[in-house]
């Protein structure tokens, strides 16, 4: 019971990690880690479409479906939405996953097109929700937007 509480304690207080430390190994090894950040503020998107962008040495770019294997088109599922949000805006713990994904994407693009890109990144095309007063004026829920991942992995 104490471990369950400890797994939810914020680490940004004056206590730092000291309240979590006694249970750290137990939580990790038996899988009691948990995070109940569930819509702690508004969602920002009405629709999303992640796109894989490959850049070539000459400066040209190609776009591909982001789903591996196969570079197929994105079909919305809540889980996949979360995955691509985390890959476009990766935090420290997600970075290795996002980099691994982009490295695999390099190989997949090279295999499918026959040309090895210089680097690969992820772009999130979306319809971003507008403030309620704008929705009432325009009768539209959202407007087009585009965000590119901070990660741009070179294809070695």
């Amino acid at each position: 019971m104490a471990a369950m509480v400890s797994a939810n304690l914020p680490s940004g207080t004056a206590f730092g990690n000291s309240l979590r430390r006694p249970f750290g190994h137990y939580i990790g090894y038996v899988g009691l880690w948990q995070n109940w950040v569930m819509f702690h503020t508004i969602p920002h998107f009405h629709k999303i479409r992640p796109v894989l962008v490959a850049s070539y040495a000459g400066g040209s770019k190609t776009e591909h479906g982001p789903m591996l294997p196969g570079l197929t088109k994105y079909e919305h599922r809540t889980r996949l939405g979360s995955l691509f949000f985390r890959y476009v805006w990766p935090t420290g713990d997600i970075n290795p996953y996002a980099e691994s994904y982009l490295r695999k994407a390099c190989g997949e693009v090279a295999r499918q097109t026959g040309h090895k890109p210089a680097s690969v990144t992820l772009r999130l095309d979306s319809y971003r929700l507008m403030p309620l007063n704008e929705v009432r004026q325009t009768h539209k829920t959202s407007k087009p937007a585009s965000d590119t991942s901070a990660l741009n992995v070179p294809c070695s």
Binding site: L32, N35, R77
Partner: protein
């Protein structure tokens, strides 16, 4: 003198209270309800992930098979397309075994390892309900045997005295110690308290606008601009969510044997999670909360539901019985 005596008895009283709170006997049907709802939830997650298995778990997919995976993370060893499919089929089978109550402990262990494995490599796609599956699975794994309403109990009852099957699946009493249910109750309370802690300071939650945005978002089943005009509906929905999430854990924890408070909390939960299931794309979250709620059931709740079902059955069979009585039977017609 009196005070000193009480102070001296306090440690023993506290230990007795904790012991009673954790180990008091509870109707074994409550454990059966938790087991069955957990199995349904686990099966639901396997089915949800089935079409994504190649993308999320195979070698060429979008996850990261990190080199330092622990040995019990099954994806350290299984990465091929066929291997992943087979692993998921085994997980689906284990979920069915948990529902039916056959080799329950073994099936729970399989589901636990499966969850650990897919969350470890598919971490960026992990949802809150995966955590619930893993935590409830771990608690059930450590809990008492859940033999009520199970195939194990049927096998054990038919097996000859002294046989291997009798020893493993033999009948148990009508009650089990409550500790695993208590851990689940605690977990449910933590989920709600933690989420309210994070939501309450946010301006959109406080102004009641959050649900209008949520309902227009990609998580909604009805993402129409009309929500921008439904200001009062949005406020009521937003504040209901906060009210329910704040009230449910305390009402359930403090209700004890009080039927009214417990059922009031259940009703709030049905409103909250029923609403989520109907209006949003995250219905699986609602399903995953059911075993945690089931941990709060009392025998009278199960009795009342059984009585209600029996009453409904009698009602539905009454008209057909009356119709049969008023219609001359084929034999009678033939005779005449």
């Amino acid at each position: 003198m009196q005070l000193r005596k009480k102070a001296a008895e306090l440690p023993q009283d506290v230990i007795t209270w904790i012991e009673r709170w954790l180990l008091e006997p509870i109707d074994a049907r409550v454990y059966a309800m938790v087991r069955i709802t957990y199995g349904i939830m686990a099966l639901g997650i396997v089915l949800e992930l089935w079409s994504l298995r190649e993308h999320l778990f195979s070698e060429g997919g979008m996850s990261y098979h990190r080199p330092d995976l622990l040995f019990y993370i099954l994806f350290k060893w299984v990465r091929s397309s066929a291997g992943v499919s087979a692993m998921m089929a085994v997980a689906g089978l284990a979920a069915c075994m948990v529902i039916a109550g056959l080799f329950t402990r073994f099936a729970l262990a399989v589901l636990y390892l499966w969850n650990f494995a897919y969350c470890a490599i598919g971490y960026p796609a992990e949802a809150g309900y995966d955590g619930i599956e893993r935590i409830v699975g771990f608690i059930l794994l450590l809990g008492p045997p859940m033999r009520m309403w199970s195939l194990e109990a049927r096998i054990g009852a038919k097996a000859p005295e002294g046989s291997f099957l009798r020893r493993f699946f033999g009948p148990r009493g009508a009650t089990e110690p409550r500790y695993a249910l208590r851990l689940m109750q605690w977990q449910l309370a933590i989920i709600y308290i933690a989420t309210v802690w994070l939501k309450a300071p946010d301006n959109y939650w406080r102004s009641g606008e959050l649900m209008a945005y949520f309902m227009m978002s990609m998580y909604s089943n009805f993402p129409f601009a009309a929500w921008a005009w439904l200001g009062k509906t949005s406020v009521l929905m937003t504040w209901y969510t906060l009210f329910a999430e704040t009230t449910i854990p305390f009402a359930l924890m403090l209700a004890g044997t009080d039927k009214f408070f417990r059922r009031f909390a259940f009703l709030l939960g049905v409103g909250l999670h029923g609403g989520i299931a109907i209006t949003s794309t995250i219905g699986m979250f609602s399903l995953s909360m059911v075993p945690l709620y089931a941990a709060y059931l009392m025998p009278e709740d199960i009795d009342d539901v059984a009585a209600l079902v029996a009453r409904l059955r009698r009602k539905s069979s009454a008209p057909s019985a009356a119709a049969t009585a008023s219609t001359p039977s084929v034999a009678k017609v033939a005779k005449s």
